[in-house]
């Protein structure tokens, strides 16, 4: 009952973006994947949700092979991906963006329940249900993106740089929400971040990618304590 | 590397081009192009598909039916007559290309009844049958210019010119609709210009004139024509266009409840085509029409009877109509011309034969032929009648009153021409 990634290799044309990466995420765990720009974090995440194709290796969630499936099918196995850069559709209303997440679900009653649950987590979304998404602030959009992902009632959430381009105070708020969600809803979360410190602070464990390879991995506290990691990624 | 490739490519293309050009060697010239010991080939271009084709597309089958009849009766001096018809879609450039094919590839002896004023003009200017000595028999257009022997030395008109038609029509209008407000729909080219010249010559003035560009006729544009005629208060409207334009005008007028006295020109006045385009026969009822051949329903006429028999035997599912009859009549004239051109007809002897004895050829028309060494004019007159409730054109009072005139300033006179009896079995003798 976990996400198993083993010997995963991904190419972008001739460039090897992810090289022989293996790690495991246990159920209910929040794992931070950190690394500098171009380390292959986003490519890794996109491959897990089916957007990119892998060259070699395997990735399974609860026994389902994630590598030879399409994103629209993978989401049906409880894997929800929030892609980089406030993944909302600006031309649609907040309400429509939320409903989008549950669009494949057969049971409409459950969807309605999910929506009221999400608007109670993000009350500001509840207030703006009939506004277009492009009228929202950056932080609200990120909340909406996460809300949309939650609407599909996921078991594992793949978050790509939720802190990107947000004010520090908002970032802190978002990270706190992610941590709370993990605990309260029993979610499994893979959090890809450049803001390594912020991510590791809320994470249970972490994987450090460098040039497509796993540099170090371990519990969040051990990584924060690791002098090499501190020097390279945490900046002190 | 790149330069090398280009060099190779040019060489290869050159070789290819030469090879493709050289495949056919120049063939040895036979006695006369298109004439063998067993066959004489004739070529025709006309619209067989497309918006201008309705009605006219029956002509090839009509001509073939008559040729087959001649061939079944021994041909002309033992030679079969063969027609090769090509579709030009009423587009001059296509007519040029197809005529080139007929002359250069199919190697026909002569062109027979090519249709359309603009098409024939384009062919005359670039293919230039006149310069090559290729006969163009009985062109299927009434443009007066084609009778100009200097300009088109090998071309023979057959239809009365549009000038003649307009002049005779004017006479009819003066006799029957004097003082009424007149409207005119005409094709905006030489076809229409000829008509305008004729009306001007006869001193007829129109309250509303609506030109249309060839090919633009449709329900969409016809709504505009009718509105203009209505606005101008025209009481008598002349439709001097092709069949499809005539049909569009009549159909749209019915929709807009506009019912003036219609006068239909000979080109577009074919009732079968108009009815096939969805115009109810009732709309045609009492419209005035013109023809130089006997009415197609007049089965007492020996020609109508024979042509109808031949045509319906070959095309049992079709209707015998005016286009068919004119086509078969041209085929009949052609057979006589080839007969008159001698045992071994050549292009030259064919032209000479029509000039010498063309005016004595038997024909179905109620109007004389005017061929001579100085004239390439065919028929020169019309009779007028009205369409019956079933949409058939019939002479007023059952009597054909034929008027003749010329394309110049000559007067319109009542014809005294008596059609000679049909030769035995309708074959050239």
């Amino acid at each position: 009952m976990s996400l198993e990634v083993s010997q995963l290799t991904i190419h972008h044309g001739a460039i090897c973006a992810v090289n022989d990466v293996s790690f495991t995420v246990k159920q209910g765990e929040l794992v931070a994947v950190i690394g500098s720009n171009g380390a292959g974090k986003t490519t890794l995440l996109r491959t897990l949700s089916g957007l990119n194709k892998a060259t070699r290796g395997s990735a399974t969630w609860k026994g389902h092979n994630l590598l030879h499936s399409k994103p629209e099918l993978i989401v049906r196995h409880g894997v929800s991906h929030v892609s980089e850069g406030k993944a909302v559709i600006p031309e649609l209303t907040v309400n429509e963006n939320l409903e989008l997440g549950a669009i494949w679900r057969k049971n409409k009653k459950e969807s309605v329940a999910s929506k009221s649950e999400i608007t109670s987590i993000f009350p500001r979304l509840g207030e703006r249900l009939n506004q277009r998404a492009d009228t929202l602030s950056g932080g609200e959009r990120q909340m909406l993106a996460i809300g949309r992902a939650l609407m599909s009632k996921p078991e594992i959430l793949l978050l790509d740089e939720p802190s990107l381009g947000l004010a520090p105070l908002v970032v802190e708020q978002i990270f706190q929400t992610i941590r709370d969600l993990t605990t309260s809803m029993g979610l499994t979360v893979v959090l890809v971040e450049q803001n390594a410190m912020g991510a590791l602070k809320i994470a249970d464990s972490g994987v450090v990618l460098n040039l497509g390879k796993v540099a170090v991995s371990g519990s969040a506290t051990s990584l924060i304590a690791d002098p090499q990691v501190r020097a390279a990624y945490l900046g002190y | 590397m790149k330069a090398m490739n280009r060099r190779k490519l040019i060489t290869v293309s050159a070789v290819l081009a030469v090879a493709s050009l050289a495949v056919t060697a120049v063939p040895a010239q036979a006695a006369e192009v298109g004439v063998s010991s067993t066959e004489i080939k004739l070529g025709m271009t006309l619209p067989m598909t497309g918006s201008a084709s309705p009605g006219y597309n029956k002509i090839p089958a009509a001509v073939k039916a008559y040729f087959d009849y001649v061939n079944a009766n021994g041909g002309i001096n033992g030679r079969k007559l063969t027609l090769i018809a090509k579709d030009d879609e009423y587009v001059p450039t296509k007519a040029v290309a197809k005529t080139n094919e007929l002359i250069l590839k199919d190697k026909v002896m002569a062109l027979l009844a090519p249709l359309g004023t603009a098409n024939n003009k384009a062919v005359a200017s670039v293919v230039n049958p006149g310069r090559r000595g290729i006969p163009v028999l009985f062109v299927n257009t009434g443009f007066s210019g084609f009778a100009d022997k200097k300009k088109y030395p090998t071309t023979f008109s057959v239809l009365p010119s549009y000038i003649m038609e307009a002049k005779i029509m004017s006479e009819y209008i003066k006799d029957n609709f004097d003082g009424k407000k007149l409207g005119l729909i005409y094709q905006d080219d030489d076809f229409g210009d000829d008509a305008l010249a004729g009306f001007k010559q006869a001193g007829v003035n129109f309250a509303v004139k609506v030109p249309y560009a060839s090919g633009s006729q449709s329900g969409t544009t016809a709504a505009g024509w009718i509105q203009k005629l209505q606005a101008g208060g025209a009481e008598v409207v002349i439709l001097f266009g092709v069949s499809s334009a005539t049909a569009a005008a009549l159909g749209t007028a019915a929709v807009m409840k506009y019912a003036p006295q219609w006068i239909l020109g000979s080109v577009g006045g074919d009732a079968t085509t108009i009815k096939a385009a969805g115009v109810p026969a009732g709309v045609l009822y009492n419209a005035v029409g013109a023809s130089f051949a006997p009415a197609t329903t007049d089965t007492n006429d020996e020609y109508v009877k024979l042509f109808q028999d031949i045509y319906l035997k070959a095309n049992p599912t079709q209707t015998f109509d005016n286009n068919v009859m004119i086509g078969m009549n041209s085929a009949f004239l052609t057979a006589q011309a080839i007969q008159a051109a001698g045992k071994n007809p050549t292009r030259k002897s064919l032209i000479a034969a029509i000039e010498k004895s063309g005016s004595t050829f038997a024909s179905a028309a109620l109007v004389p032929l005017n061929y001579s060494t100085t004239s390439h004019i065919g028929y020169n007159g019309y009779w007028f009648g009205k369409y019956s409730p079933t949409g058939d054109l019939k002479p007023a009072g059952g009597v054909y009153t034929v008027y003749t005139t010329d394309s110049g300033t000559g007067a319109v006179v009542k014809s005294t021409y008596k059609r000679p009896a049909m030769p035995a079995k309708g074959l050239p003798n």
């Binding site: 949700s49 929030v82 031309e91 429509e96 409903e99 | 633009s216 449709s218």
Partner: protein, 302 residues
């Protein structure tokens, strides 16, 4: 005065038909970001389907749905076996931008040639279900008949149904989401490929109605080389661009504008200018409001 009113009425009826064509262009553009120059060809083919149904069953009310179903099927077929393959193959290279345009032109040619060889290039004749004889006011006859009323009402109903579908149903949400952001749509579990096929089918059906109405609204006849067909060919695209390419309402407005312009040019200026008029309108719109009358920020400029 009566002439002015009639010109207006003719323009509105014709414009409503162009609107349907423009909607078809917009639907395809939204689902695959391709301008389908073959749309009018598909409408032509569907109209021939309707004509066959008319010949055999002799009811316009059966022929219309037959044409719509035929149009939808043809469109779905083209999207499934052709566009998918093409968009995959021509994603890169010097002519990646023009390849889909050229390909839809090729399709247009194939469809025209096929319909001409099957149905002979002569006019199809479809008689409308109600009279096309204009209503009378006093001594004047309006260029507006029960048939034109029917066309107008049907177009309005179809546009309303389509906007309901788009705004209120989850299928509509899928269609819109896939158009705006295919990636987010896929991540939300939408089968974007199937949605694209659906978009094409709706376009095909909408074009089919345009073809059928264009036929009965003219003199009841339609053929690959008729003016009516050429009008559909250009007007759909031009109306869609005037409306901003992404908007259904814009397409309707664009269609009406075009219908009125053509009608007035035809009546008051010259019958030989009515094909150049849409072109001039198009240029004016593109220069003054590149985003269309109802346009988002979407850039159409380099």
């Amino acid at each position: 005065m009566i002439q002015f009113i009639n010109t207006l009425l003719i323009g509105i009826t014709a414009g409503s038909i162009y609107s349907l064509m423009a909607i078809a262009i917009v639907l395809v553009w939204r689902s695959t970001r391709v301008i389908n120059f073959a749309q009018a060809g598909m409408a032509l083919l569907s109209t021939y389907f309707g004509y066959e149904a008319m010949v055999h069953l002799n009811s316009f009310w059966i022929a219309l749905p037959v044409a719509m179903a035929g149009g939808a099927a043809v469109a779905a077929f083209i999207e499934l076996v052709f566009m998918r393959f093409l968009l995959k193959r021509s994603a890169h290279g010097a002519i990646s931008g023009v390849a889909p345009i050229i390909a839809t032109l090729g399709l247009l040619g194939v469809i025209r040639a096929l319909t001409s060889s099957i149905w002979g290039g002569q006019d199809v004749r479809i008689v409308g279900p109600v009279s096309n004889v204009g209503y009378s006011i006093g001594a004047n006859t309006l260029a507006f008949s029960p048939l034109k009323l029917l066309i107008l009402v049907t177009v309005i109903v179809l546009v309303l149904l389509l906007s309901l579908l788009f705004q209120k149903s989850s299928i509509g949400l899928s269609l819109r989401a896939s158009a705006f952001s295919p990636e987010i749509a896929r991540l939300s579990g939408i089968r974007v490929d199937a949605v694209r096929t659906l978009g094409w089918s709706l376009a095909g059906a909408s074009g089919a109605v345009a073809g059928m109405f264009q036929t009965v609204n003219g003199n009841g006849s339609f053929s690959p080389d008729s003016i009516e067909f050429s009008l559909l060919l250009v007007s759909g695209f031009i109306a869609a661009v005037i409306g901003g390419l992404d908007s259904l309402i814009g397409a309707v407005i664009g269609g009406l504008v075009l219908g009125l312009v053509i009608s007035f040019v035809l009546m008051y200026i010259s019958s030989s200018l009515f094909f150049i008029a849409p072109f001039v309108i198009l240029l004016i719109v593109l220069f003054l409001r590149p985003q269309g009358i109802i346009g988002a920020k979407a850039a159409r400029r380099a």
